[in-house]
């Protein structure tokens, strides 16, 4: 039987990102798939050795431009855990809101790209049109469309005014209506189902054994979502993961579609329950008091000695409340991180894990990022063989690959 060897990527219009797959196909049936990574590898974990731990927030945001907010969130939670910082409640809710908005925009983006992967261009256009509303919300509330830079160690940098909250809710209502119009198409259209159902089936056992995470795992019937661990405000909001049971591309699509709608509800709930906090103006007031919101380790010699005294008790007890100035969105962070922490948050693509290690200097000793796509690549390699070439984009996209996450 004649075989064709196809270099799939790194420059390929279906993959917005450089990933190279050496596909061996027979009559368009994939018999072997071998990946090459490293086209996006920058080595940014290493940058923790030359940037201080506050600057690393901006660096880890740029691990991935789609879910930047959640990277920063995960990192900050880790540092806060090491340093024993209690984040203001309102900041937790704000983190939740922005995190979920990121999930919405990421899922809409994915739904569009997925539609494009099976050649449904107009559906791609429609999803991305809706997505622009979410991008507008980001831009209006965070100051940037994609990399929002709102998280800092100890809290958040921006606040939402009541008017903004109202406006967000309006936008969400419109968006939700528009998305629901597309629901029948993406979930029930004959041609779409023809292209998704039964493609790239990952069984329940496989999903667990191969370490799948996120919608990949939930699409195979496991109700596991890192949001259940209650990071940010999820502990107070209550959360039920969305599960589908077929394990194919369609199931993963359905999970993401339903999660999008679920995230709308979470955002609404979070806005409704958000504890009253002070406006951003007050925070700036804090600035005038010469108590900068971010206290980095990069201060004078006194600070350092102070920190050296304190670092034993970092994880011992909940920190005293007085670290949080009333009405502030960010806790004062004093000292330098010393200790280890593992934190997890649920990115749009799945569970994101950070391992952080500080040794009491302004630079972190080790930042280890395990991104969801990194975990989802082994399952991808397992489900690719046996599919048709035309289904390769569908299956590759069904894990929602984020190569820049994977390689960092």
């Amino acid at each position: 039987m004649a075989r064709t060897i196809l270099p799939f990527g790194p420059q390929h219009p279906v993959l917005p990102e450089p990933l190279h797959l050496k596909l061996t196909i027979e009559d368009e049936i994939v018999v072997e798939a071998l990946p090459t990574l490293g086209y996006v590898h920058r080595g940014l974990e290493k940058l923790c050795e030359v940037r201080d731990f506050n600057q690393m927030v901006q660096i880890v945001e740029r691990v991935c431009g789609i879910c930047s907010c959640l990277h920063a969130l995960c990192y900050c939670e880790g540092i806060e855990q090491i340093m024993g910082v209690e984040v203001p409640r309102r900041a937790k809710y704000l983190r939740t809101i922005w995190g979920e908005l990121h999930r919405v925009h990421s899922h809409l983006l994915w739904l569009g790209l997925f539609a494009d992967a099976f050649g449904f261009e107009s559906l791609f256009m429609q999803f991305w049109r809706v997505r622009e509303r979410i991008m507008d919300i980001m831009e209006a509330t965070c100051g940037n469309r994609v990399v929002v830079s709102v998280n800092v160690v100890g809290g958040v940098r921006r606040d939402l005014s009541p008017e903004q909250c109202q406006w967000i809710e309006q936008q969400l209502i419109i968006s939700e209506k528009e998305i629901r119009q597309l629901q029948t198409t993406i979930l029930n259209d004959y041609t779409v189902k023809k292209r998704c159902c039964g493609k790239g089936v990952l069984t329940k056992e496989q999903a667990y054994q191969l370490g799948a995470v996120g919608p990949m795992l939930r699409g195979s019937g496991w109700a596991q979502d890192a949001r259940q661990t209650g990071y940010a405000a999820f502990g107070e909001l209550g959360f039920e993961p969305i599960v589908e049971y077929d394990g194919d591309s369609y199931a993963r699509c359905a999970v993401r579609f339903r999660e999008t709608l679920q995230s709308f509800d979470i955002v609404r709930l979070a806005i409704a329950r958000m504890p009253a906090g002070e406006t951003a103006a007050n925070v700036e007031g804090a600035n005038e008091d010469d108590t900068p919101r971010i206290i980095s380790g990069n201060r004078g010699g006194i600070m350092q000695s102070y920190n050296r005294d304190k670092h034993h008790s970092i994880t011992a007890a909940p920190p005293p409340d007085l670290d949080i100035p009333a009405g502030s969105l960010a806790a004062k962070v004093k000292g330098k991180p010393d200790g280890e922490a593992v934190t997890r948050v649920e990115q749009p693509r799945g569970e994101l894990m950070y391992y952080l290690k500080g040794v009491g200097s302004k630079n972190m000793d080790r930042v280890r990022i395990r991104t969801p796509t990194f975990a989802n690549i082994p399952p991808l390699l397992a489900i690719l063989p046996g599919c048709e070439l035309a289904d390769v984009p569908v299956i590759v996209l069904s894990i929602d690959p984020c190569i820049s996450c994977t390689e960092r």
Partner: protein, 639 residues
């Protein structure tokens, strides 16, 4: 004069063959072969000039023929016993008994029937056999030399090989010129025997096995032929083909009894033309050296099968039986085209495509209108030229690259540009307008118009045909090298290639002339109507029009212009192929930088659509359906 010509075309090859069998000197053999080829070609042309004729040789020959019949049958029986093949034994015994009955009890007045008779159909066949066949025989000289070098034979088997090849040419000429069906039967069995011996020529395990299969299937056909003529003798009372044809219309009206012998003869033709369910012998025969495949198994011997079917078409015209022949042909056309699409072995593709085209000819015979018969005759002619060309190309390629798999012919243009070009010309003449094959196919499809079932199968079949030809032609071009060095080749190999390629183009160009002088008379003779008018040399009928010369002119001009443009491209404008940005050429082999930093040379494969065109799966169904159609045909005929 006529005597001489018939002698030259029929008997001379037998004599030359005998000489070749004992001759062991290479160069003398070469001279004799080339001379024989020349004489044959000239004789056939002279015969064409002479036109239709009837001839009875001395009665002595009748006796010789009868003797020859028995000799062949006993040889077959001997083979059957030696190989312990029950089928062959029983079939040859049946034939011996049948022949005894026929020869000694039924046919009393030997010699009353003219032995030879020729009309334009026969003459077209003689032309094909004598010109195309001779070219192949010449090609055989260079081919066999290299072939035996490959096999490292201690003792050359060429005398035996050329004995059968040249013998076959005579037998084939005799077959198409025969009027007495007993004579035809003798030549028929002759070709069977030649085919058997030549398939088994290399004497490998598989060759012996396939030769045996070919033998039993053809002996089955021979048996059908014999009993066909026995019945014919019984029903009609004569074995003169000419008389049967002349009285054709009255049989057609009468129907009934005549159709059973007709069925048997047509059945014999189908086995010879390797129609389903007997296609396996022809694909098996591809183990033989390529000149054999070209000569016996594509351009001439298998044509004997369709010749008899087309020949008898006027007899069964307008019957229920004829419709079934058409249906059968169309079905096999589609089915074997699909089988061809599923192959990567070049010779197997050619084999299946041969069967497919023969089936199309049979379908035309079954449609049985003047236009259809025109199509059939033109198909026989053009197919013989183009297919012989293709076979010879594959043979030459195989000797150079050591494979007959079309996957290995990727980028052949870089290795052997001349042969590759000739092969591409061959493929183009097989499938594109304005060349003869396609024109004939156009006639076939238009003549089928109104019979929708036929139409559907022809439509699907021609789609599949384009699929497998086109990808073959395309992949030979796939080379990054801008200019390639021409390959060295023996003149006896190259000349036939060039002459055949030239013939394919020129004869296509003169297709209106061919039609006017060769086809129209015979069609008019039997069907009392000419299907096409030829305004400005274009084929015109109420049903459709085929613009031969405008197409030649415009497409030719376009091609010339394209060629001129292509010549402008310089080597500097050549870039590496698109490989998603990872392209990398190592040692002149394009490829890409793959995982682990390794260079991966390009590798592409055609689609063989195992799912749709898988040989084992499909063959089973095809055989069942074909057999069913045959059975219905028989009972339809019996009714």
């Amino acid at each position: 004069m006529l005597d001489t010509l018939v002698f030259v075309t029929v008997l001379l090859p037998f004599l030359v063959a005998a000489v070749l069998l004992v001759l062991r000197e290479q160069n003398v053999r070469k001279v004799i072969l080339v001379a024989t080829a020349g004489v044959l070609a000239l004789a056939s042309l002279a015969m064409l000039r002479g036109g239709a004729f009837i001839m009875s040789p001395a009665p002595l020959y009748d006796t010789l023929i009868t003797l020859g019949d028995f000799v062949i049958l006993f040889v077959v029986l001997f083979v059957g016993i030696k190989r312990k093949n029950q089928i062959i034994i029983w079939l040859s015994v049946a034939q011996i008994i049948g022949l005894i009955i026929l020869d000694f009890f039924m046919v009393k007045e030997h010699g009353n029937i003219p032995a030879f008779f020729a009309d334009d159909l026969s003459l077209v066949m003689v032309l094909i056999i004598s010109i195309v066949g001779s070219l192949i025989a010449v090609y055989g000289i260079g081919y066999m030399k290299e072939h035996e070098e490959h096999l490292h034979l201690t003792k050359s088997k060429q005398p035996q090989f050329f004995f059968f090849i040249v013998l076959f040419l005579g037998a084939m000429n005799g077959l198409v010129l025969a009027n007495n069906l007993l004579w035809m039967y003798f030549f028929w069995e002759c070709t069977t025997l030649c085919s058997f011996m030549l398939i088994g020529h290399d004497d490998t395990e598989i060759a012996r096995k396939n030769a045996e299969r070919a033998l039993w299937m053809n002996v089955l056909g021979g048996t059908a032929f014999l009993f066909g003529i026995i019945l014919l003798q019984k029903v009609v009372g004569t074995l003169s083909l000419q008389e049967i044809l002349a009285r054709g219309p009255e049989f057609a009206v009468a129907g009934g009894a005549i159709l059973v012998p007709m069925f048997l003869l047509v059945f014999a033709g189908m086995t010879k033309a390797a129609q389903a369910p007997f296609q396996s012998w022809l694909t098996g025969a591809m183990v033989a050296p390529t000149p054999v495949s070209a000569l016996l198994h594509s351009s001439t011997m298998v044509k004997a099968g369709v010749y008899i079917i087309v020949r008898l078409a006027p007899v069964y015209a307008g019957t229920y039986f004829s419709n079934f022949v058409a249906l059968f042909g169309a079905f096999v056309f589609l089915a074997t085209a699909c089988l061809a699409a599923g192959q990567s072995n070049g010779k197997k593709i050619l084999a299946y495509s041969t069967i497919s085209n023969l089936a199309l000819i049979i379908a035309c015979a079954g449609i049985n209108t003047p236009a259809a018969i025109t199509a059939a005759i033109l198909l026989i002619l053009f197919h013989a030229i183009s297919k012989a060309l293709m076979f010879l190309c594959v043979g030459a390629i195989e000797q150079k690259i050591g494979s007959r798999d079309i996957e290995d012919m990727r980028g052949l243009f870089a290795v052997m540009p001349r042969t590759a070009l000739v092969a591409i010309i061959g493929i183009m003449t097989m499938m594109l307008p304005p060349f003869g094959m396609l024109m004939a196919k156009w006639m076939a499809i238009e003549s089928a118009h109104g019979q929708f079932l036929l139409m559907i199968m022809l439509a699907l079949g021609s789609g599949v045909t384009v699929l497998f030809w086109c990808r073959w032609a395309g992949l030979m071009l796939g080379t990054p090298v801008a200019k390639a060095k021409p390959e060295a080749q023996d003149i006896t190999v190259r000349a036939p290639l060039y002459i055949l390629a030239g013939l394919a183009l020129v004869v296509s160009f003169f297709s209106p002339v061919v039609y006017n002088s060769l086809v129209a008379p015979v069609v008019k003779m039997y069907y009392k109507a000419a299907p096409y008018a030829l305004p400005y040399g274009n084929f015109d009928s109420p049903v459709g029009i085929f613009l031969v010369y405008p197409l030649f002119l415009l497409l030719g001009l376009g091609f010339y212009f394209a060629l001129k443009q292509a010549r402008k491209v310089t080597a500097a404008q050549c870039s590496q192929p698109y490989m998603c940005g990872e392209q990398q050429t190592v040692d002149g082999k394009p490829g890409f930088l793959g995982p682990l930093g390794l260079h991966v040379p390009v590798q592409s494969g055609n689609y063989y659509l195992e799912q749709f065109f898988g040989e084992t799966m499909l063959s089973k169904w095809i055989n069942v359906i074909a057999l069913a159609v045959l059975v219905i045909m028989l009972f339809g005929g019996a009714l």
